[in-house]
Assembly symmetry: C2
């Protein structure tokens, strides 16, 4: 693990890292903020389509709150980089910058696009081994595609994460255009039955749940709400199940980091 | 004045604007944040080399504090855009993105690069007319080249600005490579005697002062401190004059917006 850049921030350190990933068989980048003083816990933050390890750490204004609470954050990049797979760089909502936090099974992609394992195993291990965080003090959150990632990680492996939350998550990727395109490319149209393993609504319907209430913040002026995010589908899926869910529809807010910066303190 | 984008933020509005400038004879962009509720005052923020109207409003984390205090901020772009002057787009520290907040006198540049007038007259008037701010409630601050801009505006027209502050300012442009290059291009090598009108150290030496103490935050790990920013020159220039100055050398901080985000609340 190599530090690329360090910036002192609120008495702590914002850092950008590079390492060789065994999951993706590529170099991977992530950013961290570590607070001054005692380190009490860690948030794993998963970013959305087109994002990198930079967006959250630059725009969310989280460092102030993390420093106060003695928490760190780790923000992985959203896909492998530097590979040349068929169609990988042709569109902003598939391939590079759009890993969707699944383990791909299609030719080519299955060799590198294993973002689920990358986060749930490698990033999760780095937090413990390299930063000394106890496994009971690791939470997960994310935005949009990264909100989807946080939800499926929290539902599939609830014992690993203290809390699960999301901003503007894609809650039902098997039923929206972004998810259809990504899952077709990463999992294959012929394997459609298996897609439900990577869909928060389907996981809840199959009886998976996280023991704590999941917090979701969703802007009402979000252009993607109606066709891509489908927040209400998760509300309905959770009804009558063991999964407690608190969705806060925030009046007038959109899909941007201005929205995230406004409410991030509640997620920390 | 046309709104290009609006994002609800901390109950207020982050907006991006475009208008026709009479000073630069070009379209100009600026961003604003206006808080919810009563509007009590305005900070004019001037950004540094290579920046646009986006950097501060995206990265400084100021909206939270502005919303609490009932203050707005207005962030002009750092130069005219869309012109094709000799050498304008050849380097990052001169021409586009690097207006240096002077009124240029050299051929070509004098027709458009009038950033001093643009800020001190046009932006200053917009704040009053379009946002209803009283002229006694307008302050100015900035970063690096924009810190230089804030200092010379505050020293040349102290009656206009309630407070003057800066992060990592270029305090003595006539004595550093960035300033030499910019002033040669905008003012001409043959007019070197006139350069002092646009240099904070020289203005203080000539007896100019702002009635309030000027606050400067300067990181000790700032790569540009020694050769470009020359903070100590302003400390020495102010000694024995009417200009009160508080420089806080912040241990371990660099030239980035991570630094600005850490201390911006003290400037508001």
């Amino acid at each position: 693990m190599k530090v690329l850049k360090t910036h002192k921030t609120f008495g702590g350190l914002t850092r950008f890292w590079e390492h060789e990933s065994t999951s993706t068989k590529t170099k991977m980048n992530f950013s961290t903020f570590t607070p001054p003083g005692e380190l009490r816990g860690c948030l794993i933050w998963l970013s959305g389509l087109t994002c990198t390890d930079e967006n959250f750490i630059t725009k969310a204004g989280a460092q102030r709150v993390l420093a106060e609470k003695g928490l760190m954050v780790i923000c992985p990049d959203t896909s492998p980089r530097g590979t040349q797979l068929p169609g990988e760089h042709d569109s902003w909502d598939f391939g590079s910058g759009a890993g969707f936090y699944v383990n791909a099974t299609t030719p080519g992609y299955r060799d590198h696009y294993r973002m689920y394992d990358y986060v749930s195993q490698e990033i999760y291990a780095i937090v413990q081994k390299d930063f000394g965080i106890d496994h009971t003090m690791i939470s997960i959150s994310g935005h949009s595609m990264g909100g989807h990632g946080a939800l499926i990680l929290g539902l599939r492996e609830p014992e690993k994460f203290r809390t699960v939350s999301a901003f503007s998550p894609i809650v039902n990727p098997t039923a929206c255009p972004w998810g259809e395109k990504a899952f077709t490319g990463y999992l294959g149209a012929e394997s459609r039955a298996s897609w439900s393993e990577w869909d928060a609504c389907e996981l809840v319907r199959a009886g998976r749940f996280h023991p704590r209430e999941i917090l979701i913040d969703q802007g009402t002026d979000d252009n993607f709400l109606e066709k891509q995010l489908l927040t209400d589908n998760l509300v309905r899926a959770c009804e009558g199940t063991k999964q407690k869910l608190k969705v806060r529809f925030q009046e007038g807010y959109d899909h941007s980091y201005y929205f995230i910066s406004t409410f991030i303190a509640d997620h920390l």
